[in-house]
């Protein structure tokens, strides 16, 4: 369908006044030590690093920098706690996890605000998605604690021991819950390291865990950057490594684990295709594109960062997408009306901007919405590239920002070929009014999660994980238990 140039206007007229979330009730300490053995203890070498608010570039707090010696202390504390914790009556373990879940719900406002302050994500998401889902994961796995043998009929289950867990900066609190909840439910103890740019909600979680009365050492939370993570992975007394982050770091971890007896799960990068057929409900598909790539500033491993749209509706979809992008509000993460918050760090912003230059050099046509962005802080307007191909880097590589590469296709087979033509295989989306096409497509796409007529939907009951270079193992659901258990013949 040819679209005449009849433009809608969104920039003038009635605008929304600022509606900032109240932060008076929030308690962030000036300094956080390491949470080891049930107490906050100073790092052995006495070093600290700053965590900043990416929307203002101002310092929020100082957190301890864990050295190899601190990692060793934390692993020892977890090892000491493992025996009694794993022998505790399973229903009692469940009670502790339920308690954490309830306390998270009670303090959800505070957690949401801190998540937005420290990570830059809009309060609408931290309030409605991150924190409720984190609590839901604790609730879900609490229920499994005393039912593990029913998950694996005919086999006996035993915990692994000490789990070393390293989580990324895009969903700090949610990833902490994905890691901690199943590990505890299965009777393991934990050393968790949040990302260096977003340590605060994990440290608040440490406070909740202490308040919940968990036995000392069952959960240890230490902060630091790559060196700290490497010390955890390489520690001889760690039985299991769980990592969520980039494919590059995942490769390093997998190499260093080769030849050891450690179990591991890796959740890595993605370059998911969101595929729109001509018979799809177009307006809802456009909404799905927006949720797929602009959710959490595009800092999402399963983001729908490639759009494959059938040629017959390509012009219409792109026109509607551009108009929809004009209504997205970029700015203060704490404003309840903000759709797209701050880019998490100056390093990540530089990466994204380098890809904007690459995409244009490759001959792609770039469109960005015209919304204003604040002077201070790290920002990227929602961006799309049209006229790009499989051979272009913006189509091949994970950008991890609000940047969408749009390609067209003619036939079902062409869509499948393009969707699978990537080293990644984490997620995908299909938009069509025809059920048979959905099933045919889900069987053809090599990806761990495929959404039909929706995108970026998460639930604790649903397993999540990747094919190919997107990772190893599954988290969530019943499958997520397997990663924290030794299964033996009865």
């Amino acid at each position: 369908m040819a679209i005449p140039d009849n433009k809608l206007a969104f920039n003038d007229g009635w605008q929304y006044s600022p509606a900032p979330e109240n932060t008076d009730h929030i308690k962030v300490r000036k300094k956080y030590k390491l949470f080891i053995g049930g107490d906050f203890v100073a790092p052995v070498e006495g070093k600290y690093f700053d965590t900043i608010n990416p929307a203002t570039e101002k310092k929020l707090s100082s957190v301890g920098l864990a050295s190899t010696a601190d990692v060793d202390k934390a692993v020892k504390a977890a090892r000491k706690a493992f025996g009694p914790w794993s022998r505790l009556k399973a229903a009692e373990r469940g009670k502790y996890i339920y308690r954490i879940a309830r306390m998270l719900q009670e303090r959800s406002r505070e957690f949401a605000a801190i998540e937005s302050l420290d990570g830059g994500k809009p309060i609408r998401e931290s309030r409605d998605v991150d924190i409720p889902l984190a609590a839901a994961h604790f609730f879900y796995y609490a229920g499994w604690a005393d039912k593990l043998e029913y998950a694996f009929p005919g086999r006996s289950v035993r915990p692994l021991g000490v789990a070393g867990q390293i989580i990324p900066w895009n969903f700090p609190m949610l990833m902490a819950s994905w890691k901690i909840a199943p590990a505890l439910a299965c009777g393991n103890t934990v050393v968790l390291k949040p990302a260096e740019t977003t340590p605060l909600t994990a440290l608040k979680l440490a406070e909740v865990i202490a308040d919940a009365g968990l036995p000392p050492g069952v959960v240890n939370i230490i902060t630091g950057a790559g060196d700290t993570g490497a010390a955890m992975v390489n520690h001889a007394d760690v039985d299991k490594v769980a990592f969520t982050g980039s494919t590059d770091v995942g490769r390093i971890i997998q190499k260093s684990l080769a030849g050891t007896n450690k179990k591991y799960t890796l959740e890595l990068g993605g370059k998911a295709a969101n595929i729109i057929f001509a018979d799809a409900a177009i307006d809802q598909a456009v909404e799905g594109i927006v949720n797929g790539i602009f959710f959490n500033q595009g800092h999402v491993c399963c983001a729908g960062s490639r759009l494959l749209v059938q040629e017959a509706v390509a012009d219409e979809v792109i026109q509607k997408l551009k108009d929809r992008m004009e209504t997205l509000i970029v700015g203060d993460p704490l404003d309840k009306n903000t759709d797209i918050g701050a880019i998490n760090s100056p390093e990540q912003l530089a990466t994204i901007e380098s890809y904007l230059a690459i995409g244009q050099d490759e001959g792609g046509e770039m469109f960005q919405s015209s919304c204003p962005v604040p002077d201070q802080g790290y920002w990227c307007r929602p961006t799309i590239f049209t006229g790009v191909s499989q051979s272009n880097r913006v189509v091949q590589e994970e950008i991890f920002g609000p940047v969408l590469a749009i390609q067209t296709f003619r036939t079902f087979d062409e869509a499948v070929t393009k969707a699978n033509n990537t080293p990644y295989g984490l997620s995908g989306g299909i938009w069509t009014d025809k059920g048979a096409k959905i099933f045919k497509m889900t069987q053809s796409i090599r990806a761990g999660v495929i959404w039909a007529n929706t995108f970026n939907k998460f639930d604790p009951t649903s397993p999540f994980g990747g094919y190919k270079e997107s990772g190893v193992g599954r988290e969530g659901g019943m499958h997520g238990l397997d990663a924290y258990l030794k299964l033996e013949a009865q």
Binding site: P4, L8, W14, A19, Q284, E287, G288, D433, T454
Partner: protein
């Protein structure tokens, strides 16, 4: 009515090509509009805009000239103790009351909308509907709110529904035509979308959700689908069509959500009474109450606002 009276420019579009609608996605989009937080200055601006968009309505079997005169007084004097309050867009009455309303409004810039075409069921021959329409126009109605033949639409007789709208539009002359789809009787969002496209192609100046006599009346879901139909029609033709959700919108907060939806779907050009109306009888008082609260910080008793 012979087909020769139908202007040759209006042709029934190929309704098999009308876009499909996904209800789950519509619900999600609506929830997102409702999560917008409208405060302070933007709220006051919205409340005033809502007042100016209201079609103050009385459509009862028990309506009398006295009742209609009361309503017209309310339209002129919404709440005179508050300065800077706009007047409503129109009063909406039955054809027999148009003359009364015209007299009561004394040439003020308030439109007189009249329902017509055997409102609310539309179960009458076209000749009766045309007479009904002409009578309202002759009595001074500036806007006609017609109903479509839902039975014919559900039976798939789109041609009949289309030709009726074209004929009524012709009978209206320069008088604005609002076409009521009665979405509560259409049953699915796909049919709402189809009926919207049909009505706009037949010449509707406005499309309107409901008569107010059938539940559910206006919902945000149905209104969103109609707004998207208006946008697609504008993309394709360049002609703007207005939107009127009617029935069931009695609270200011809900009306503000409608404005958010309007702004983020059609943009600023539609944010005027010329292109958007609320068909409502009790909405005005709740908006006034909210405006008073914004000014004084406290809610006033409902008894401080005239009930007509």
């Amino acid at each position: 009515m012979s087909l020769s009276a139908v202007p040759v420019t209006a042709t029934l579009p190929d309704l098999s090509r009308v876009p499909v609608v996904d209800e789950v996605g519509v619900n999600e989009r609506v929830a997102r509009f409702q999560s917008r937080s409208i405060k302070t200055a933007s709220k006051i601006e919205a409340l005033k805009l809502i007042l100016s968009m209201i079609d103050l309505t009385t459509l009862e079997g028990q309506d009398t000239p006295g009742k209609v005169r009361q309503l017209c007084q309310k339209a002129i004097h919404l709440h005179d103790s508050m300065p800077d309050i706009p007047h409503v867009a129109a009063v909406c009455v039955y054809p027999t009351m148009v003359g009364i309303a015209k007299e009561a409004l004394e040439r003020r810039a308030i439109n007189i909308a009249s329902v017509a075409t055997a409102f609310p069921s539309g179960q009458a021959p076209l000749s009766v509907k045309l007479d009904d329409t002409r009578m309202a126009v002759d009595a001074g109605a500036t806007e006609i709110d017609m109903v479509i033949s839902r039975g014919a639409f559900l039976a798939g007789n789109y041609g009949l529904v289309f030709d009726e709208i074209v004929a009524i539009k012709d009978a209206c002359g320069d008088t604005h035509l609002k076409v009521i789809l009665e979405t509560g009787e259409l049953g699915t969002l796909d049919r709402v979308r189809k009926a919207s496209d049909l009505a706009m192609h037949a010449g509707a100046d406005f499309i309107k959700t409901s008569t107010g006599k059938i539940q559910p009346a206006a919902t945000m879901q149905v209104t969103l689908v109609m707004l998207q139909a208006i946008r697609d029609y504008f993309y394709a033709t360049g002609r703007m069509v207005g939107m009127k959700p009617a029935g069931g919108i009695s609270k200011a907060k809900l009306a503000v959500h409608y404005l958010v939806m309007l702004r983020e779907t059609l943009g600023n050009a539609w944010m005027t009474p010329e292109w958007f109306r609320f068909g409502a009888s009790s909405l005005a008082n709740d908006v006034l109450m909210q405006l008073r609260k914004q000014a004084t910080g406290v809610y006033q008793s409902a008894d401080y606002f005239s009930k007509d």
